[in-house]
């Protein structure tokens, strides 16, 4: 197969990074990105993009750790390069604080982030209602810059990108040899995955440039993540809610919760409210499949279901998906050789 034609469906952080990995592992592939939404209208654009992993109950921990390590290493190199500002990648330090003792004293990722240690008594005085805390330095992927940078890298490899709503993967079988499904929550409809469910998150993006430290409550509900131009204040975790409309009462509640952790946020300006639906699943689906219909086969690689942890593991899962694409290509070449005999 001279130039395998690969369609990547989805242009959030997963779709774009997977497409990029495919161009890296398979330079002879012709890659096309198809999506009904591009930045700044993807779920990824709503997220703060903090590299703090979310735990997937049904994915083995060592695999999650590898994904996180790959992602962290990749972004660490970018943050240290001249491209950092364009790519929207920067280091940020801060605290994760707990009202009651955390389930694990040392999360699996504590040796991957930088300088992880328990907070001192003096540091905890800033948070009178919290009794335990962890201090560390991690990375943040600001969107839209990071997605736009991925798009730019893709264009440089000759990858085409089209706005197109794919209602059925079979639409693509004539034009493409392999389809990569990075549709996030869209996979619920597109491939009928009932294990996938939305977890609604509302956030505020505010102007508060004096906030340089991140603060995350260990319960995962309240967080303050300083980005390049805006600080993301969150949030909510509403399982099963499909609503993309901002809720005014929720806005007030998020603001109050964040101000109680960081009082100076009272002076925040230009409050923008955004809603995203985390494409949640008990495990991330990174898997190969061959769809079959009326004698026609369509190799599909799935890479979706990253829930609250998309940014944290995106590069790791993208690389794994790219390996699966390679396997699809080998399988196609093997079967076309057999066909020739």
């Amino acid at each position: 197969m001279a130039s395998p034609k690969v369609a990547v469906v989805g242009a959030g952080v997963i779709g774009l990074s997977t497409a990029l990995c495919i161009t890296e592992t398979c330079p002879s592939c012709s890659v096309t990105v198809l999506s009904d939404q591009f930045s700044p209208n993807t779920t990824s654009d709503v997220a703060a993009g903090m590299l703090i992993p979310h735990i997937y109950p049904d994915t083995p921990i060592h695999r999650q750790k590898q994904w996180f390590q790959e992602t962290f290493t990749y972004l660490f190199a970018i943050s240290n390069s001249a491209e950092a500002s364009e790519a929207g990648i920067h280091l940020v330090s801060g605290w994760q604080i707990f009202k009651s003792p955390p389930k694990e004293e040392l999360p699996f990722w504590s040796d991957i982030v930088l300088g992880f240690r328990p907070m001192s008594e003096a540091e905890l005085q800033k948070f009178p209602q919290h009794r335990f805390g962890q201090a560390f330095t991690t990375l943040k992927c600001d969107c839209p810059p990071y997605l736009l940078w991925l798009e730019k890298r893709l264009k440089a490899t000759g990858t085409q990108m089209y706005t197109r709503k794919v209602a059925d993967l079979w639409e693509l079988h004539r034009e493409y040899d392999i389809v990569v499904n990075c549709t996030g929550l869209g996979a619920h409809q597109l491939v009928g995955d009932k294990q996938l469910f939305p977890v609604r998150g509302q956030v505020l993006k505010v102007h508060a440039p004096w906030v340089t430290q991140f603060i995350r409550d260990g319960d995962g509900l309240t967080y303050i993540y300083p980005g390049i131009h805006r600080v993301t204040l969150g949030g909510t975790r509403e399982k099963g809610s499909w609503s993309l409309s901002p809720d005014a009462g929720t806005t007030r509640d998020i603001f109050d919760r964040c101000c109680s952790l960081e009082p100076s946020l009272q002076g925040a300006q230009d409050i923008e409210v955004k809603v995203g639906l985390r494409p949640s699943r008990q495990s991330v689906r990174v898997q190969r499949e061959v769809l079959s219909q009326g004698g026609i086969k369509l190799p599909v690689v799935h890479n979706y279901g990253h829930g609250a942890g998309g940014f944290s593991v995106h590069r790791g899962t993208a690389k794994e998906a790219a390996v699966l694409v390679e396997e699809c290509i080998s399988a196609l070449q093997a079967s076309s050789s057999r066909a020739k005999l």
Binding site: S85, G115, K126, P209
Partner: protein, 348 residues
């Protein structure tokens, strides 16, 4: 009781505020006046980035170490107050980098979360083999000075835009106590060969992705003669010049290039940063801060001067401890005047 403060930088304004807060209610006749030829945003304090950090090599002056700590603790206590944002006060973390192992600083237990850098962190800074990470405070002069000015004005302190030529000039007008907070130009009022300029130059850029301060040290070239990057609320300050004895307040193209090249080498992404300003200032350097009383005989009376100058590159860092000390000296003066039977009332 007329008290004149010469100088409206961080030292002058904070000393005035301390005295006003502590003595106005005890001494209703207290009238504070501030004289300066430069006010915010044109003072040395306005040009400084505003990072709380004493010099890394201890000058061995315990008093200064204690004043630094007093200032940090005072500011930390203000952090959650509604005034913090107006004061230009916020937390910031960052890195101090060295090419050879340094002794831990005197302030390691004053700042929050002080620790040594891990090998992985040092990968960010090729060429540096050791370093520290800690969380400290920013106190931006461009916000803090107006905030102090507002507080002082509300409390009836008067401001005079005027270059004072001598202490006598004020005493002859009926001032009882002078606070000399004239920083670099104290030598104009009273010669002090120990006070020398430590010229600095900085470039202001827009680099909002930089969330940490990074201060490099070259123990051979001396403090601040090595690149540093300090992010603020409106722009990021690039610096790394300390020229002892250089009185020029003009920006030097040679220094600009040296700062730009060395900072971009430290943080390659800075190459894309937009330059929005440049500034040169004179750190009022002295082997130790001069914070003491001087009694001057003027005819048949004794005039009092409280000197509070010579804070080098750590004025914002040490200001509150010094202001409190200056207020204590003022208190001593008041006590003595009462003992001598001089009522602390208006001059007749």
């Amino acid at each position: 009781m007329r008290v004149a403060v010469i100088g409206a930088g961080v030292i002058g304004l904070s000393s005035a505020l301390c005295i006003q807060e502590q003595f106005q209610s005890l001494l209703p006749s207290l009238q504070l006046e501030i004289y300066a030829d430069r006010f915010t945003p044109h003072t040395t304090s306005d040009g400084a980035a505003g990072l709380w950090q004493p010099y890394v090599s201890d000058r061995g002056i315990l008093q200064e170490t204690l004043w630094n700590k007093e200032t940090f603790d005072h500011l930390l206590g203000q952090l959650h107050s509604p005034a913090a944002k107006d004061m230009g006060l916020f937390l910031i973390s960052g890195y101090n980098l060295f090419r050879e192992p340094p002794p831990d600083p005197s302030w390691k237990n004053v700042v929050l979360g002080f620790r040594h850098l891990t090998p992985k962190e040092l990968e960010l800074f090729p060429g540096y083999s050791h370093g520290w990470f800690n969380t400290a405070l920013m106190l931006e002069g461009r916000s803090y000075l107006p905030w102090l000015t507002n507080r002082l004005t509300q409390r009836g302190v008067k401001f005079f835009h005027k270059k004072v030529e001598s202490f006598q000039e004020l005493f002859s007008q009926g001032v009882d106590v002078v606070l000399n907070c004239s920083g670099m130009r104290s030598g104009d009022l009273q010669p002090d060969p120990e006070l020398q300029p430590g010229r600095g130059q900085i470039i202001r850029v827009l680099a909002p992705w930089v969330k940490h301060f990074i201060i490099t040290h070259d123990l051979k070239s001396g403090i601040y003669n090595s690149p540093y990057v300090i992010p603020g609320s409106e722009f990021t300050v690039l610096g790394g010049v300390y020229q002892h004895g250089n009185w020029s307040e003009e920006n030097s193209a040679k220094d600009h290039k040296s700062i730009w090249d060395s900072c971009c080498q430290l943080l390659p992404a800075l190459q894309k940063a937009k330059i929005v300003g440049e500034w040169s200032g004179l750190r009022p350097a002295r082997p130790s801060v001069r914070l003491e009383r001087e009694s001057i005989r003027l005819g048949n009376r004794q005039a009092e001067v409280i000197h509070n100058y010579g804070h080098g590159g750590f004025g914002l860092t040490i200001h509150w401890g010094c202001a409190m000390a200056a207020a204590r000296l003022f208190g001593t003066i008041l006590q003595e005047k009462q003992q001598l039977g001089i009522p602390p009332g208006p001059r007749l």
